[in-house]
Amino acid sequence: MTTTPTTERRARRERDARRRQRGFTFVDAIKPLVNTLPLTEVLSPEGVDKIHRASMRLLKEIGVLIVDYPRAAETFRRHGAIVEERSDGQLVKIDEDTLLHFVRQAPASFVQRARNPAKDVPIGGRHTVFAPVYGPPFVLDLDRGRRQATIEDFRNFVRLTYMSEHLHHDGGTLCEPNDVDVKERHLDMLLAHITLSDKAFMGSVTHKENARDTVMMAEIVFGAEAIRERPAVLSLINASSPLRFDDRMFGALEVYAQAKQALLITPFLIAGAMSPVSMAATLAQQNAEALFGICYAQMLNPGTPCIYGSFLANIDLKSGAPCFGTPEGNLALYAGAQMARHYNLPYRSGGNFTASRIPDAQAGYESASTFVTTVQAGVNFVLHAAGWLEGGLIAGYEKFVLDLEMCGMMAKFVQGIGLDEEDFAWDAYAEVGPGSHFLGSQHTMRHYETAFYQHGVFNMDNYEKWESEGAEDAYKRANAVWKRMLQEYQPPVLDEGVKEALLEFAEKRRAEIRAGRLARE
């Protein structure tokens, strides 16, 4: 019995807070996964070596085409690569020793700064970081169906990401804000990331100038020196596969590498179209393209943090559409992780992938199939962990919420099985014995709140209760969850001076862009 001298009542244990916290909770820090489990591997060491040798042969004999960016080809030539002029660009052929000399200069792991230091993200090693979907031109929700994404949708997805304890990173182009002029929308996206969230974010890569704007805005927020010590921006550089990089991507890469900002070099492979139909060739080509991009970043600025990226699906050879959650794609996901580890590089791949247009059963199966694979492969940076639909064409509000459940479950899964004395619960057996049940044992009372993963949106009600409460499926329930999250959203603190400087910079750049001038020229 408590003996407080006051006559005030003891308050009921957190009832109000607990009622509010049903569903997904907001936590003002992030806990990226630390995978304690043995990783799944599908290639033997000889298999890894075979893929490596095939990719070296591709780089030496077939080469990589650089389109509209001769200065990149010149950089490769200066460092010993052979450059052949072609009508459509320069073909760069590089030998193994030269390539690996540079690849080895990329760090095995790094930490990306977030505006809130409690949300800095470790990338590499046994860490797994979840980030939301990237790039969809459309959004979908249960009330309004599929439509062109707008800046307000973009802001909503930033808010939802900020609110999600299971996402550790803001991602980048959460959806494409079609209602803002393409030349200046990067400013609005960056402003949304920085002002509406405080998690680490991704930079703009659609133009060299946009990359410069990203770096300058990061300098306003974090300081020019600070971001060169540890990167504050991570940017997605895609190969325009097969075996090709263009001026937009290499131009952005150059700007970021010079500022020592982190890069995510990802070949874009839909096997059957952008690579041969065999997984061996596809993996060798992916390896060649990823290492080629990483090599270029190291040539420009040794030590620039780079993630070995993989976006690898296969085509439906009957329709030409991309497939997700396939056996071939999942095998390649595991193998790609082995290749990245072979070069001691952080790995990006996977996500909650599906080809389905709505969060239906197909979406559920495909997403779960890829996502479990993603985690068991030991992926370090998981883009598209929440919201992905229709092969990446749609950012789904409800899908986003349903995917959070998978993220949360995986966070528990990677912790493995505890084997301490307390985990064997001897006192519970002494208390309960054979028969009876453990629901009220002291051991249960000590652990019940964290013993099992607590679901945020999946429903365990029996049929009759579920029916009497409206017979809502997961899609419908998720609809209520994202609406409640947006309702409860409160923006994070941001220094007024920083905010003003950012807005001022954005307005200045907007005016310059509108006047058709380029910054600093």
């Binding site: 001298p5 003891r10 009921r12 244990r13 009832r15 049903r22 009220g440 249960t444 049929y463 009759e464």
Partner: protein
């Protein structure tokens, strides 16, 4: 003891809060305190214990509380009831109800049944828990002996479910069928099955079973008052 200084209205709230938190000793002391202040056992039950368990019931239904927390609350309620029950009998207050509950012959799966039992006790019912693997004779004898208002039967196996009908037939044979409200439950049981074997109600889960039992007792007490 801080609650001794609380005004009456706050004492009720404190009882409800402590019940919610599963603080058994506190609930017992507060029950005694309320009686000492001159409230009738019926009032203490309604304003303190039942009002508190109603909140627990809502939060259990809504997935806010964990089962172990509900069990703690039910234990606290049961402890308070032990003080009130003899007094309630003396004062001739409306019966909260007596329930005989058990798992039918052939079935030793009793965790769900035990949950119902604890929730019923948590709602103030007197529960005679017969345990597992009960034949018809045992159910009938218990109903007679305890003058039960409600008989609860549960089964987890589809193979043991049909035995519920045997028990109901035995009640009929003994002329007890109209005197006891028969509730059935268990994972494979359904509303349709309950109707088919002529049970009075099907409780899809522990919380619902308690609701149904409370509604039945309210109806029964009203009948009794009318006659």
């Amino acid at each position: 003891m801080d609650f001794k200084d609380l005004p009456d209205e706050e004492l009720w709230l404190q009882m409800q809060d402590d019940l919610y938190d599963g603080l058994k000793d506190e609930v017992v002391e507060e029950t005694k305190e309320a009686l000492a202040r001159g409230y009738s056992p019926t009032e203490v039950l309604a304003k303190g214990l039942v009002a508190g368990m109603d909140i627990v019931g809502v939060d259990f239904r809504d997935g806010v509380l964990f089962v172990p927390e509900v069990l703690m609350a039910a234990n606290a309620m049961k402890a308070g009831m032990e003080i009130l029950r003899p007094l309630l009998t003396q004062t001739g207050a409306p019966r909260i109800g007596t329930m005989v509950i058990g798992t039918v012959k052939g079935d030793i799966h009793d965790i769900g049944k035990n949950l119902v039992s604890m929730m019923m006790e948590g709602a103030g019912f007197e529960v005679i828990n017969l345990g597992v693997n009960n034949d018809a004779d045992k159910f009938v004898a218990a109903v007679k002996e305890h003058n039960a208002d409600i008989l609860g039967m549960s089964a987890l196996l589809t193979t043991t479910m049909p035995y519920m009908k045997v028990v109901i037939q035995a009640l009929k044979d003994e002329g007890l069928r109209d005197k006891v409200f028969v509730m059935v439950g268990g994972a494979p049981v359904s509303e349709a099955f309950a109707e088919e074997i002529e049970a009075d109600a099907y409780g899809r889960d522990a919380a619902t079973a308690v609701d149904i039992a409370k509604r039945y007792m309210a109806w029964k007490n009203a009948q009794r008052a009318a006659t």
